[in-house]
């Protein structure tokens, strides 16, 4: 028995805007304290509008835990940003000192996020250990730098493997079947396009600047290059590069990760097209700038609607037979960890 189920996203831009603007107002009024509650409220709205079959997802995080996590991060990040103001040497020293914390934050953030996501009464879970995370975060960064980026696709694949196989739906672990080739293909394509973009962009910019300075006429003295053109041009090249990385590389990696994830015999498929993502990101960025940020909630819904609707599950069995994990059973008996830190961070 095999059957395809598409994920559906039923959130509405205006509805989310109303939740968002109330969240913003209360966050500003409470000097940021409400932000943890705001986060949970917005997340619950989004999760509650993601459907698989006849069931929506659910987000159950405790805002107090998130607030605690944010205060902790603030405690760490404020000295770092102060160091940055004083000198770059202090700043990099501070970043280096923080490195041992990175794997801890990654593991805590992911397990907090997964444990508080629920589908059909079963919570997800993440069991990754500090030392595994240490290998796939700070150490693999170092490896990428030493090999001039050549090891990067490999370490990203291994990191995906780690993130997926340590995740569980209830007591059932996910598995990962991704191969290494697509990762190298995605990174090599990105490198080639960025190279062409920079070389072509800088060449075009110089040509344009030469043309405008010649246009000033022979009696204008020594050619004065238009600095403004140079700055605007460099910014445009950087923006185009960022857009390409977002719309192509990140999108590709996300698709691979999902499409190579298995839960028992069930397969997932995420099929995102580069032109669509490029259009979504470009138009969102333009509209966010033009509306002084008021478009942010609509932008989020637009991207999520496309991504969620492009995701489907090839089911080999009914959704009935999954069992809850131990953590959920412990949490349910009231022994909820009181000192839990809700860290959310995207690396």
């Amino acid at each position: 028995m095999s059957q395809a189920g598409r994920l559906r996203f039923t959130a509405d831009g205006w509805e989310y805007f109303r939740i968002w603007i109330v969240n913003v107002a209360l966050t500003l009024l409470t000097l940021g304290i409400y932000s943890a509650w705001a986060k949970v409220r917005a997340r619950r709205y989004l999760y509650g509008n993601v459907w698989l079959g006849d069931d929506a997802f659910d987000y159950t995080a405790n805002p107090v835990a998130i607030l605690r996590g944010r205060l902790l991060l603030l405690l760490v990040l404020v000295p770092v940003s102060l160091a940055q103001r004083i000198s770059l040497v202090y700043y990099y020293a501070a970043l280096l000192l923080l490195m041992p914390l990175v794997p801890w934050v990654v593991v805590r953030a992911r397990s907090f996020h997964m444990r508080n996501s629920r589908y059909r009464g079963i919570a997800f879970d993440f069991r990754g250990k500090y030392w595994d995370a240490a290998v796939w975060y700070p150490l693999s960064w170092a490896a990428s730098i030493v090999t001039l980026g050549l090891a990067r696709p490999l370490t990203v694949r291994q990191r995906d493997d780690f993130l997926v196989t340590e995740s569980r739906f209830g007591s059932t672990p996910f598995s990962f079947v991704g191969r290494i080739r697509p990762y190298y293909k995605a990174y090599l394509t990105t490198a080639a396009v960025l190279f062409l973009l920079y070389v072509g962009g800088v060449f075009g910019l110089l040509l344009l600047m030469a043309a405008t300075s010649l246009g000033a006429g022979p009696d204008a003295g020594p050619p004065a290059f238009d600095m403004r053109l140079f700055f605007v041009g460099s910014l445009a090249i950087a923006a185009a590069a960022t857009l390409f990385i977002l719309a192509f590389l990140r999108t590709r990696l996300l698709s691979y990760r999902w499409s190579n994830t298995r839960l028992r015999e069930n397969e997932f498929l995420l099929d995102l097209s580069f032109p669509t993502m490029l259009w979504l990101y470009t138009s969102n960025a333009a509209l966010i700038v033009a509306t002084f940020g008021l478009f942010v909630p609509f932008a989020r819904i637009r991207v999520l609607r496309y991504v969620v609707n492009q995701c489907s599950v090839l089911k080999k069995e009914g959704p009935e037979s999954f069992e809850a994990g131990e953590t959920q059973r412990v949490a349910a008996t009231g022994a909820e960890a009181a000192g839990e830190f809700g860290l959310e961070i995207g690396i």
């Binding site: 509805e15 805007f17 109303r18 939740i19 603007i21 109330v22 969240n23 913003v24 107002a25 209360l26 966050t27 500003l28 009024l29 940021g32 932000s35 705001a38 986060k39 917005a42 619950r44 709205y45 509650g48 509008n49 069931d55 929506a56 659910d58 159950t60 103001r85 004083i86 000198s87 770059l88 629920r118 589908y119 059909r120 009464g121 079963i122 209830g170 405008t212 000033a216 204008a220 020594p222 004065a224 290059f225 238009d226 600095m227 403004r228 960025a285 966010i288 700038v289 002084f292 940020g293 942010v296 959704p319 009935e320 999954f322 069992e323 809850a324 959920q328 059973r329 349910a332 008996t333």
Partner: protein, 356 residues
């Protein structure tokens, strides 16, 4: 009593059961699972009902980890209200207020108005106040480090070259600037000369009591008093610690805007528009203060304040010719500022005439 339909999950497996949910007036929640004769009973005090958000399904958490997923939000709320009676508790009132706020247009309009008012007052009064505080606690050494970093960077980008001005001429102007600094209580004013063909005639102040003057500006001046006027303007920036204030104001704006959009990278995007307006607004204030400082200095030293207007006028013409924006100086509205200097000069003349 009618019941609200729900899905029952026992919290151990993902199996779903159709069920009906009732809350009795004495605060007992009854779950009737289809196909099972016996009912599950729970005191309401042990059931956790999450806040309602738009019309998303709500998952009621039952004591031993079981869940009831309810989609009929209105039905559930009506039933709970009947069971809880009047008056509602504070928590319930706040919950209802939140739902009213984000499900009605009046609520959104109120939230938008509050947000706009807070953001406006922060830019108008908050950020400058924060900047004053930050500048007050920034040690001069730290400021000097920032200035030195900037000064070391500019030649790297090919903006500044070493000056070709005679050293005697440099010393002469440096002596004027240092005296000017001492008059304003700045003991270690540092005047630096650079040649800047790409930038053209320009002058700017850096953190750490440093003023930069380009050879091109010295060449552009038709009278030494014009250079003195420009120096006085820049020393005005140094005395007001405007660069540091500007940095502090911009970064405090970015922080509040991050709270607004909830995301630092999105904040950077959404602040692009307002930031341009604000930067101009803030810098205009700074320029006016620096002009004021310069005019007062010139008057004290019997130099006609029109010198400032004259050099500003010529600066603007020079930049209009070359097409190079004077982006580092960011001096908007030359015409208005020229008139101010003119007015100052006239009022002095009127004053002296009246004395005679």
């Amino acid at each position: 009593m009618t019941s609200v339909p729900c899905h029952y999950y026992d919290g151990r497996t993902s199996a779903r059961r159709e069920a009906g949910l009732t809350i009795t007036p004495d605060g007992i929640l009854i779950v009737a699972i289809a196909g099972i004769e016996s009912r599950l009973l729970y005191p309401m005090t042990e059931v956790r009902i999450p806040n309602r958000i738009a019309n998303t399904p709500r998952h009621l958490l039952l004591p031993e980890g079981a869940l009831c997923e309810v989609r009929d939000n209105d039905g559930l709320d009506a039933m709970r209200e009947r069971a809880e009676g009047q008056p509602p508790s504070h928590a319930r009132r706040f919950e209802r207020l939140l739902h009213r706020l984000d499900s009605t247009w009046r609520g959104s309009a109120a939230a938008l108005a509050v947000t706009a008012a807070i953001l406006y007052s922060f830019t108008e009064w908050g950020a400058p106040a924060v900047a004053t505080g930050v500048v007050a606690i920034t040690p001069p050494e730290a400021e000097a480090v920032i200035g030195d970093n900037l000064l070391a960077m500019l030649p790297l980008f090919g903006v500044l070259d070493s000056s070709e001005l005679q050293s005697s001429r440099q010393d002469e102007l440096r002596a004027v600037a240092e005296a000017m600094g001492r008059e304003a209580g700045i003991e270690d004013l540092d005047l630096q000369f650079f040649s800047a063909p790409g930038l053209g005639p320009n002058a700017f102040a850096l953190p750490g009591n440093t003023v930069v003057l380009t050879d091109e500006l010295v060449a552009l001046a038709e009278h030494d008093e014009e250079i003195v006027a420009v120096l006085a303007h820049e020393v005005g920036h140094v005395a007001g610690r405007h660069v540091m204030r500007g940095l502090a104001q911009t970064s405090s704006m970015l922080i509040i805007w991050t709270a607004f959009t909830g995301d630092a990278s999105v904040a950077a995007l959404s602040i692009l528009g307002p930031d341009q307006l604000l930067a101009q607004r803030y810098s205009r204030t700074f320029e006016r203060q620096a002009d004021q400082f310069a005019i007062e200095y010139l008057l004290r030293n019997d130099i006609p304040p029109t010198r400032l207007g004259d050099i500003l006028q010529r600066l603007e013409e020079a930049h209009a010719d070359s097409g190079v924006p004077n982006w580092l100086a960011s001096h908007p509205g030359t015409e208005g500022r020229r008139r101010e200097a003119q007015d100052a000069a006239e009022s002095v003349r009127d004053g002296s005439e009246a004395l005679e």
